[in-house]
Subunit: 182 residues, 2 copies
């Protein structure tokens, strides 16, 4: 397997760091022979509410943990889209929260664009806080070389607070089964 670079990004409160941690741990603990590194950057912009988490996955040791040419860009806010879309590699894959991100010309370089109303799906479960996990289910179902559902669900059960796990597992399933119209 070649190196795979994934960036999750959105605004503060969307649980972007958790997405990165879940995927990073799931890969390393349960995907045989794969390493992963998760990086969270906090700059002055984090005071304005932007948030991002990179996961780099490789069968080799990962000497350079920073994502520089994204194979996958999973984005839950307009601001994060505008900031990081230049980093998506040509032929990369884009996942967007369709009601929070407005695509522009930069999206043309993506090989595939997956859209999901993750926040609305979460709201059917009572709170938009589940949007990150709905998105993660959608990513897991459609991005075959990131992480398996089994590994991710195992780590979710370990890391997510007991009182939230049930609804997160439903959000994950709804994301996983979501199909774009048309």
């Amino acid at each position: 397997m070649a190196r795979v670079e994934v960036r999750f990004a959105g605004f503060g409160g969307q649980g972007i760091g958790l997405m990165g941690r879940l995927v990073g741990e799931a890969v390393a603990l349960y995907e045989k022979g794969k390493n992963s590194v998760m990086t969270q950057s906090y700059g002055p912009e984090s005071r304005g509410g932007a948030s991002s988490a990179d996961v780099v996955i490789d069968t080799e040791e990962i000497d350079f943990p920073k994502a520089t040419e994204l194979d996958y860009f999973v984005v839950l806010s307009e601001e994060a889209y505008n900031k990081y879309i230049p980093k998506l590699k040509k032929g990369g894959i884009l996942f967007v929260e369709e009601n929070l991100v407005h695509l522009d010309d930069n999206a043309n370089k993506a090989k595939q664009i997956f859209k999901i109303p993750a926040t609305k799906i979460a709201e059917t479960l009572g709170s938009k806080i589940f949007a990150n996990i709905a998105m993660l289910g959608y990513v897991c179902a459609n991005a075959k070389d990131i992480v398996s559902e089994e590994a991710l669900v195992t780590v979710m059960k370990q890391k997510i607070k007991a009182r939230y796990i049930e609804k997160n597992l439903i959000a994950f399933k709804k994301g996983k089964e979501y199909k774009q119209e048309g």
Copy 2:
């Protein structure tokens, strides 16, 4: 300010990642003009229980998030000490959980070595799970160019689960006030 590199390391279950996230966020959100990047690496060794989290702090933008020459090494297990002590820079500062880490010749290159029985302190509060925060209090009091107490406590109150926060704040205070004998 020059770049500062900090590594937290120990075994799984000690809450090493949380130490990194608390410091990373506290620096970026509440220390004026400073950026930080937090990196968690998960390799095959993470299955064996090793855990580490790096925080790089700089007033400049951080292009290379990986810590390569540690200014500070905060270590809570023997295995992690043996693995990473070669990365401590000459004249760097070492913080050790004194009952879990046995120093060797490599420790001579440290300018200062701070020892604390963090796990025993945590156990006086009912559980060793507070050892990471006791250590963090000790680090905060003695490593002046990482992060302020005020910033760290603010972020702890936001990120630590409600039912654990009170004891964690006590653990932090005990660590902060701990003095080595002799």
